[in-house]
Amino acid sequence: MASLADESIIADFVAESREHLSSVEPDLLAMESLGAKVSQEVINRVFRAIHSLKGGAGFFAFEALKKLSHAMESVLMLVRDGKLSPAPDIMDCLFTGVDRLRAMLDDIQASDNVPFAKELANLEAILSGKGVNLGETVKGREKGSKRDFDLDAESVRSALRRGMNLYRANAYLHRDIKDQGLTPLAFLNNAMSVGACLDAFIDIDAIADLENCLEQDLAVTLLFASVLEPDLAALALKLPVEQVKVLEVKALKEEMKAKAKAAKAAEKAEPKAEPGPRQEAPAPVAEEPVAEVEPEAAVEDKPEARGGAAMKEGGNETLRVRVDLLTNLMNLAGELVLGRNQLVRAVTDYQNEIPGLGAILQNVNQVTTEMQEGIMQTRMQPIGTVFNRFPRIIRDMSRQLSKQIEVQIEGAEVELDKSIVEMLVDPLTHIIRNCADHALETPAERKKAGKNPTGVIHLHAFHEGGQINIAVNDDGRGIDAKKILAKALAKGLVTKAQAAEMTDREIVHLVFAPGFSTAETVSDISGRGVGMDVVRTNVEKLGGHVELETEVGMGTTVRLRLPLTLAIIPSMIVGVADHRFAIPQVNVVEFVWVKASEVAQRIEHVQGALVLRLRDKLLPLVRLADVLGIQRLFLDAATGEMRPDRRASIADRRGDAPETPEEASTRERDRRTDWRSDHNIIVLRVGKNHYGVIVDELFDIEEIVVKPLSTFIQGTKCFSGATILGDGRVIMILDAGGLSTAAQLHFTDLQAEEIRRLEEEKRSAALKASRRRSVILFEAAKGERFAVPQDHVLRLERILRSRIELIGDREYIEYRGEGLPLVRLDRHLEVRPLDKGLEELFLVIPKVPGQNSTARPPAGILISEILDALDVEVELKAVEFTGPGLLGSAVVQDHLTLFLDPVNLLKAAGLMGGDAA
């Protein structure tokens, strides 16, 4: 179908209409879920969107689009007016209507070929039930005319918002069109190229019949909106100035408002309870109305009601720009960045020679960066544009699957490059479908499992570490690692030997293997087994990473980590031998410099893998040269030449290869400790895992422009693209994930080793703690030192020797009203007796395990002096002589000290009911 209007105007209309439909769906869902409680604002938003679409469709004469949107608008009007409740069947009709409108917009020129009879019939059935006449039109009347304008309120508002003047232009078919050599089509084309034609009609009153009709020069009246001033508008329309009249906008606005108020008042007065057949109201005839529009046209402009081309409250104008223009700008910005890098590289050396060059370079540098960032910003889109389509998908799926599913969205405002947003649609849709189809249980199953019958799918986008994280979480049945493994074995994806060594996490990640599916039935929704590997592939194509966390019975989280943009990324330039590589900065965690002399302490082999001990963690290491098959070189300090490095590993101190005579002769200048053999390690992040890459040289961080790989090297895992450096050299961009895969890193092995070491350290700490004792130091005979653990002592008491009484061969002392047996160490151990000259002695009253501290103690040990109470860290050694209650000996405060176990001593003394000595 040929287009009267400029194609770009239609393209704008399609883009705006798509936006309207995107914004309509969440509101329709809200209407459905809230029913009659839904706010008027939500209904109005939907109404305005459909109304705008209808207006545009009418304007461009897309009949099918207009008819369907008109019917939807009529239904919405009933809902808005409270004459119809947004029941599910009504909402179904609106949803399918939206789908059909979308299908029409997909190929606007063939929109009339899209079948919509069923949808229209359903809507008409609703309307006929309510006695609505679909033929209602928006009426307007041009001053002094007998003929009504058919005005689209939204078009009028849109024109006014954009500061356009409204004109009534009269053109005569003969004088102004035919005699100017124009066809009516050419005339209208011209008019629409300089503004918007809101309506037009021909004054047919001047014509009586066929008899003399050809002599009549009929007037065509145009209601026309343009930014042009009147004289220029007339010139552009190729009409005399007097035939182009400006319509008074202020009067028009006031008229719109007044009519709206009147209409509202009339609605209020109108009884609502009678849904009988409604007569089409005649167009109201005002005294001298400029234009008359239906009530919603006069609703105060609200920001949320406006399309993408609207002006926001703050006055920030927006402008539709074609994506290919932005893409071109982006590419040019990329080339500019490259040129800037090359320029800086080329003239840096001349900065001192040319005054002011440094400042110029800095300025060019800064402006380039800002411009590039600005252009990147124009391509950023909120992830909500993808997220917002899922509630509708889930609504339909939940019906199809007889499940109750709620979708929660968080972080819809997070922005990503348009290309990434577009490429995320398929992976995210697949994940969401999987959640609804496989992950979430039926209401009965959920009830049985003690869960809420309504399953929840939570979509969350957030920034983290310069990347975008998107987490899709469900509270469904989770993924059973055993089932996955069984399926993987059955499909031959893993061998039994491999399976035996796999962790649960690794097993669960098998769902990303090509062709993997655990779905017991292949549904028409998902479960064809071609999905999750495509998800992973697509995400990795974007330079992202996908991870999966699951817990049986609790749910699953699929987490995508994505770069903000793909086009220009800051990257670290590294060197290996003569080669240069770029590593995207988002993957770089830190740099570690390991001195050659520290290699033995910091780098080791764990389970055959090279690891760096970094802050008490084991970091797997790969040598970039080895992974990429590049001959390693080292600088021979003796000759100053680069020579092949033949060591199998940097942890090797000599290497397996036989020493050459040259090496032997230079052994004294050992490169193992030479500073030139220091190691540069870049710690990279791949999802949750980190690993180190050993490179020869670190250069600088540069903003690189990503160029796609040629098809013949696209299969290489290690590279994600190529770029051009400032010196013109083409280098490869390393893919952190691919590199770790190529190096066959097994993070889980190292994690197990880390856990083992951690436990070892804990044990060691516990042992150390066991060696630490709080003791009481004392003497019995002068110079003979003893120690008793404080936790074995109940009390220490001072006594006078004169109070000791002898009964039989056992000594006692009156202690708290009772006789307390006394024990002398020299009677049980090979130690000297107490000095007989001492009048004042001390008693160590042992603590008996399990006995109350107020209970009568079994005995007291006589000592001569208490020396100290202190913490000591000792390893007890066996003493040469043995005796009861002797734990061992150790040197404390430079004196040999015997450590006693008082309870065992008392047992030996026959005072604890134990064995007598």
Binding site: A2, H174, F201, L210, L214
Partner: protein, 101 residues
Amino acid sequence: MASTQSDSSVLRIPSGGNLVASTVEERRKAAMDALEAPCTQAVLDLTDAEVVDSLGITLILGLFKTCQKRKVAFSVEGANADLMRVFKLFSLPKLFPIREK
């Protein structure tokens, strides 16, 4: 503008080509002749018309007014997409039914 009559009540009026300045007078006369025959409905068939200029539109409107006077229902058929656009933008479908080719 030769006329054919499919039945006693419907008068079909073929355009016989483009309705432009050079042809409208001839077509006007033919239409007038055709309308001499009694009918309740007149259909202008634009299947053969690629272009309709200002005079053509005037002719169609004259035809419409004549039919209106004689209480004969008037409609247009077989309009191509370009013609449909022009008719719609001039709001002619509000006066009489127009069906696209």
